[in-house]
Symmetry: D2
């Protein structure tokens, strides 16, 4: 019983290769997490356990996929960045996206009870899930602007949510009134509401809420660098050089796999973050710190 | 702090809409399941618990996504079929694929301990995960040929694996010798080996191994139908008719959501399967069986 | 001097295959033809010479590309239809589109002086040019609806333009007043204006203006057919049958290449057109008429 | 007669936007030019009239599309480069490609008799035509490597063709023998054959054959520049700056449109070409030369 007469259906599969030499960002989002966070009565405006679970899942994804150079998470979303020289899965878009979405989901479900040990919080159907997409960024500037975009969004949303929920939780307002109070308000207004009416200095809020979570491999910081150039890996090289760089790439890959993965809540908008961590853009592993 | 100066990065997101009026098949595959099945010592050639878990996850996916009309699973792969009239997520490819991959993974992890309750079988990192892709099929014939392709593959693989593992488990061969014995053999040869040397009639093997698993909503079978025509939902209709058909579509969606989902191990290659279940190709829900 | 160190740039070329078994429509449009028709003082509302030139170019395209089954033109646009079984250029979208656009343009420029022999009408820079795109239609119904869409558009536009220009040319209105007169008018209103104020019966206008131009290979009409089924060429066939059908396809291709190409101004919306010309949807050449 | 019931077919048109901030290369190729050059008995190995016609058509394309920064032609192929900041046609791939292919074809046909005035050389069906495709290059290095790739190809092909046709035309060999003589030969071998057997110094061959044709807008050369940085046009800018840069872009566009377009036969592989002409990569027009 040959399969040949049906095999023609394989021809309907279309290639979906991302173009070479672009930074690939895979962003995943919780599906229906508004409803989901109600079901499990997540704390407002931020549930620390839920964020820690997101970060733990993101760390696990980066452990399993050493090609990811950095990740950034806020709320129920996470962005994973592949270096522009990445050739994982031949840069097939759906393979990259589904692998990340599936791995992230697996750890989210698996680690749930670690972060929500209360028996009342046990997961029941419908289970949480995530969707995702891949986006290509041609230049380092574009990539950094993407990261800045997400971090500014984190700030904007968190300042709003913090004020909104303070008006409700401490100010006794209902949701509608709180929303109305904040309509058209500027950042300064919200800071003022928090400070003058509730004695809250927004600057003292935890960084994880204000800045989100940045996940990357931990090497020794570089103190006086220039702005790192992201070298064109694929460009003008002889076949010999390519062979050498393959071996090197393999070595680099192994060193990366060994590096500790760290989650930090720091500014990624300014140059300093990138200058001190040149390995992020160069994709060359740095020095392993002596004691961490 | 306006976000506008970074928001331009959204323009790099590219649309990935599937074309209207095609059957959409999302096929997912276990990543590295060869190694994974070794780690947990899955039974060979088939581990019933692992297949039952796959089927349970597939049923859950169909519960959460009523737009899926049928699914078919073998080994560590599953294919989910959206009707050609489906407009879920505006037919965005990555959204459809990642939603299925994530939901499937969530249930696979969540239900693992139900199917593998043994404490020794507890999941540890690296966790199982799945990748996936969407393929479009323009005609019913193409779709049925796709389904036939997978079911023939199931048969070919299972006959091979059954013979291979029998040679090892009952015949005392090592893997290399077994492989050598089977090189170039036809189906008849394998049946003969099983029967004459081990007294096994392949036809008596369980259908779940021979035919795979077909998952669909359960309505009353139709006994004397013609071959169902899959009607062009989107074609020539007045705006009025469209409005009506929207209401109808919503009703149909609810009836589908209520129908029991069944997992069966039967032939999907012959016309009979499709003729008796016209709702699969017409996307019109059938009659709910009185007592099931 | 080896080229190898630069050849990596070929990897940036992305495949753009259309999926198998869909009808491919390539529609081309004149670029800036409003301005162009002013430059050469085309007659309003229709310039017969310009339409004849369009049709001559379309015929030439069909002569050079026997894979095209039918074409339909109105004003400065033309749609070319490849049969769903077409495998020309491996169904590469940009190759199909650019070949048609380039061939059409070549004949349009080359034949210009045949249709506009007046020395004052000689082409000067900027020259007329066309852009184009490919669209896939999965079903015969979708394809026919596409053709109907264009022919209805032809009717709507021509009735409007005929009335508009009659108001100007015979009614002495300026463009603004004519536009205002027609704002919100129905088809019946325009017919009425033409008839009562100018004694023009729109039904007596030439079919080339009212119905556009349909270009196809001319075989003997079939008088009592059923609605032709477009057979799934690619589906379930043995390798042997495929070999046979290749030879047959080659024969068919040659017969098609021999058939006379005709330009007609007839209804393509009703079933009759397609029923009498089953070769259009079946892609099987018909009988060559004895004397035409 | 409303068109609404057919208009749904527009939904089958799929977007094909190229991603922002990439260099876009549209390469077009003569279709079946081997046969075509036989039909018109083009001179071998190079027909100067045919190349001049190609260059004239390319110049015309650049006149009509000021967004093109540079073009490069060899034999019957031409590559047109849009700056990475280009937003023409919203960067729709098929629109960009077909516009170039059509415009090029129009001038090729229109100017044919200027370059081939001999009545015997009049064009007859089948007419020459071109196909084309768009490719995206993320970095300046990638783009320059693309240009180098084509120019190295020009050199390799021309050295081969020059030797091949000299062996035939002056050496009296037939095509097969000439081919055999050259099989496996290196560049040095071909130079040696030309020099020792025919007294031809390949270096003295015309640059148009050895280096191809580079087409660009002519400004004053810059004598001591650094390597120009191609600035990220789209990146971090306030809305205000964007407004300003729009006005600037419009001015730049007009200045570019005024600049004379030049065709030169020079090296584009070394840095010098790009350093002296910073406007090519920066997309900022240079100084118009006083007298050219």
């Amino acid at each position: 019983m040959a399969n040949s007469k049906y095999e023609y259906v394989k021809a309907f599969e279309q290639p979906d290769l991302l173009i070479p030499n672009t930074w690939i960002v895979v962003r995943i989002d919780g599906r229906g997490f508004h409803k989901f966070s109600d079901k499990y009565a997540f704390e407002k405006p931020n549930d620390r356990r839920a964020l820690d679970l997101m970060n733990a899942a993101a760390k696990a994804v980066m452990m399993e996929l050493p090609d990811i150079v950095i990740a950034y998470g806020i709320s129920d979303e996470y962005s994973f960045v592949f270096h522009k020289s990445c050739v994982l899965f031949e840069r097939r878009s759906s393979k990259l996206v589904t692998t990340i979405v599936s791995t992230f989901t697996a750890y989210y479900i698996h680690l749930w009870s670690t972060y929500f040990p209360d028996p009342e919080m046990q997961l029941t159907a419908p289970l949480p899930s995530f969707d995702g997409r891949a986006v290509q960024y041609p230049s380092v500037q574009n990539l950094r602007d993407y990261m800045s975009w997400r971090q500014v969004d984190c700030h904007i949303n968190n300042l709003y949510n913090t004020t909104f929920w303070t008006l409700i939780q401490k100010g006794g307002l209902d949701a509608k009134s709180a929303e109305k109070d904040l309509a058209g308000s500027l950042a300064a207004d919200k800071n003022e509401i928090l400070f003058s009416r509730f004695g809250i200095n927004y600057n003292n809020e935890p960084d994880i809420y204000k800045k989100g979570s940045v996940v990357f491999r931990d090497y020794e910081l570089v103190e006086h660098p220039g702005m790192p150039e992201a070298i064109d890996e694929d460009s003008a090289k002889t076949a010999n050089e390519k062979e050498l760089s393959k071996t090197q790439a393999e070595k680099d890959r192994k060193r990366r796999a060994k590096a500790r993965i760290t989650v930090q809540h720091i500014d990624v908008i300014k140059d300093e973050f990138w200058e001190k961590r040149p390995w992020l853009l160069s994709n060359k592993p740095g020095k392993i710190p002596k004691e961490t």
